[in-house]
């Protein structure tokens, strides 16, 4: 008989506080996602410190709400002002904005909401079915497999990020170096503490995240002049419920796009942006009217939004079952798990069975909430876009400072945060991607520990031991081979199809629209 306890064990954890946190988190996520310039990454990193006083399940579910909500909320700004509210809504702008210009902003937001919710829903089903199986398999992983997965994750992240892969890898190495600061895990010898006792246990992860993704974003957005919001469209968000007329027509599309979303989400390093690019391109290939895509086509919105929200379940699958974040936001989420004393990975299914179950149930509810809040709240979320930019940025700056201080009541962490904000700013100006740093910071200590455990097991006979390990299970060499293949593939093919570079092509369509 099939054991359903994994899907019900979490029910006792879903108390009133959890539900409130879930609703609050999802709503905050949608709002932050809807505001251009505030990404899911920023939302989760700034909100992590707010969860310190909460119990683990409340904190994790709230942050999941923020993550999924922000992923969806990006479509609102995409529709109304032609700016993706979060990076993953880039493809949504292509059709949603032209549709809004035709006076159908309500329909466009409705379609985005419907496909986001169904895509997210689908991905949770996959998450809850697959992750226990993968976790059981992953329990057998030894240090060599864990090491290779970490290397794979950082390399893929570097490959996917916009711009040069070499620079992405360099950012990853930089993150790994930062992660190696403080006491050495094997011998407890101090490394790179620059004579400061505050750095003995290394750089605080949350402080670095808030700096890199909270404050850096504000520094970058303060440089640009805010785009004037066209008043007319914002008033015209009417009747988002009209989207259900297209539900039956779009089911196939939603299903296809969701599958793409889940798979891309599950690849460590790849996230919503890539998923929506691929699914949009796919839809364009099989569409009966490909020429209409980019001019306000229903199928364009559906393909982009279903895929980018389906990513959430895929990314969580890798996080929960392998302990490797599927994208940058889940990397920050992984930091939140660790802060609450939980180590994501296959063991979590044994030690925190109820929490895993609560995560499944919570994510189901989050996607229902997205549907309800999105459809009912669309006209109000739209009004948010009028909120003065400078006020918002100032509030976020203050939150970055207090949030970082709150991590361990330390002004030193605040200084670390500012240093990382400046690093993030300089990196962006030099076209070095920031995302690989997150993954490297979070995976750094695990990578070093596993490398050195393996080295001590090998006892000097490194090659022979590697061959012996590979004969037992060929997983590690296969992963390493895929990593190398990914990294050298640009040498053979000129365009990186599976990379954010593909966006350039679409940005031109976008320019024409606006």
């Amino acid at each position: 008989m099939f054991d359903f306890s994994l899907y019900t064990a979490g029910l006792p954890l879903m108390g009133i506080t959890t539900i409130i946190a879930l609703i609050g988190g999802t709503l905050t996520g949608i709002v932050i996602g809807a505001l251009p310039g505030l990404s899911a990454m920023m939302a989760v990193s700034i909100l992590v410190p707010l969860t310190y006083g909460m119990t683990a399940e409340v904190a994790i579910l709230m942050l999941l709400g923020v993550y999924c909500g922000a992923n969806y909320g990006g479509s609102i700004a995409a529709t109304l002002v032609n700016i993706p509210g979060t990076p993953s809504a880039v493809m949504t702008t292509l059709d949603a904005y032209p549709m809004a210009k035709n006076g159908q902003a309500g329909l466009a937001i409705g379609l985005a909401t419907m496909s986001s919710a169904i895509g997210g829903f689908f991905s949770v089903i996959v998450l809850s079915m697959l992750s226990p199986l993968i976790a059981r398999f992953a329990l057998q992983f030894t240090s060599l497999e864990k090491l290779s997965i970490a290397i794979f994750g950082i390399s893929v992240m570097a490959f996917i990020s916009k711009g040069s892969t070499v620079k992405g890898l360099m950012a990853g190495i930089f993150g790994l170096m930062v992660a190696s600061m403080g006491f050495d895990p094997n011998t407890s010898i101090l490394r790179f503490n620059f004579g400061s006792i505050y750095l003995n246990s290394g750089v605080n992860f949350t402080a670095a995240m808030i700096g890199l993704f909270g404050m850096t974003e504000i520094m970058l957005s303060a440089e640009k002049k805010a785009k004037k919001v066209p008043e007319k469209q914002i008033e015209a968000v009417k009747n988002p419920f009209a989207c259900f007329k297209y539900l039956r027509l779009s089911l196939g599309n939603i299903f296809r796009s969701s599958v793409i979303g889940v798979i891309v989400g599950a690849i460590p390093g790849a996230g919503g942006t890539i998923a929506s690019i691929i699914s949009y391109a796919q839809q364009k290939k099989i569409s009966k009217h490909p020429e209409k895509m980019g001019q306000g086509a229903v199928e364009g919105i559906v393909a982009a939004e279903a895929a980018n929200n389906a990513c959430t379940g895929g990314a969580m699958t890798t996080l929960l079952s392998l302990g490797i974040p599927g994208d940058a936001v889940t990397g920050i989420l992984m930091g939140a798990f660790i802060i609450h004393g939980l180590q994501p990975g296959p063991n979590l299914f044994n030690t925190n069975y109820n929490l895993i179950s609560a995560i499944f149930i919570g994510m189901f509810l989050i996607n229902i909430l997205i549907l309800v809040l999105g459809l009912l709240g669309a006209p109000y979320f739209a009004k948010l876009l009028k909120f003065p930019r400078q006020l918002l940025n100032t509030v976020i700056l203050v939150l970055c400072v207090v949030g970082t201080f709150g991590v361990q009541n330390s002004m030193f962490d605040v200084r670390v945060m500012v240093v990382f904000a400046i690093i993030g700013y300089i990196f962006t100006k030099l076209e070095v991607p920031r995302a690989p740093i997150v993954l490297a910071l979070i995976l750094g200590s695990m990578m070093e520990e596993n490398l050195r455990r393996w080295l001590s097991l090998a006892d000097g006979q490194y090659w022979a031991y590697f061959m012996e390990c590979s004969r037992k299970t060929p997983i590690a060499p296969i992963i390493l081979a895929i990593t190398i293949f990914t990294l050298i593939s640009p040498l053979f093919k000129k365009t990186k199809v599976f990379s954010e570079d593909a966006l350039d092509e679409y940005e031109e369509i976008n320019k024409k629209n606006s």
Binding site: L50, M170, M177, F192, M219, N393, V402, V418
Partner: protein
């Protein structure tokens, strides 16, 4: 130009890591007991990539030109200066006063009107203080307002 800066900084960083790790005490003969081993691998890979990047830039004959947008730099300096002064003032002045002063000047600096800055500065500061010290139990510095 950008690739040159990134490449040279990368080389510098890897050189630093390599030489700084010489000082780490080694406890045993195996590689796993050597605290310098892992940082040095990283330094090696970073150095190789930096050289690769530099060679690539040289072959493409990237021009070395330095472009500075003066207005942007001045604004960035003001922004960071304000932020640093704020962080230094939080402990002596207390969170509420320091934050009110900071929000006032930052709203202004980011292009808000003086009226906006005046109206919003204190409420933002008070609300954050209440949220963090009462709801989230973070003991924010009180500074000269010790009596609250």
């Amino acid at each position: 130009m950008k690739d040159y800066i990134v490449g040279i900084s990368g080389l510098g960083l890897s050189g630093y890591v390599f030489f700084a790790s010489k000082a780490f005490q080694r406890l045993g003969s195996g590689l796993s007991e050597d605290p310098a081993y892992y940082p040095r691998i990283l330094a090696g890979i970073l150095a190789a990539m930096s050289i690769g990047l530099l060679v690539g830039a040289l072959r493409k004959r990237n021009k070395i030109e330095i472009k500075f947008n003066r207005a942007l730099l001045i604004n960035l300096g003001k922004f960071l200066g304000l932020l640093i002064v704020y962080i230094l003032l939080i402990v002596p002045l207390g969170f509420i006063i320091a934050t009110a002063l900071f929000t006032f000047s930052m709203i202004w600096l980011l292009g808000g009107t003086r009226k906006q800055a005046l109206v919003y500065a204190l409420p933002i500061s008070l609300l954050t203080y209440l949220l963090f010290s009462y709801l989230l139990k973070v003991p924010l510095p009180k500074g000269i307002l010790q009596f609250i």
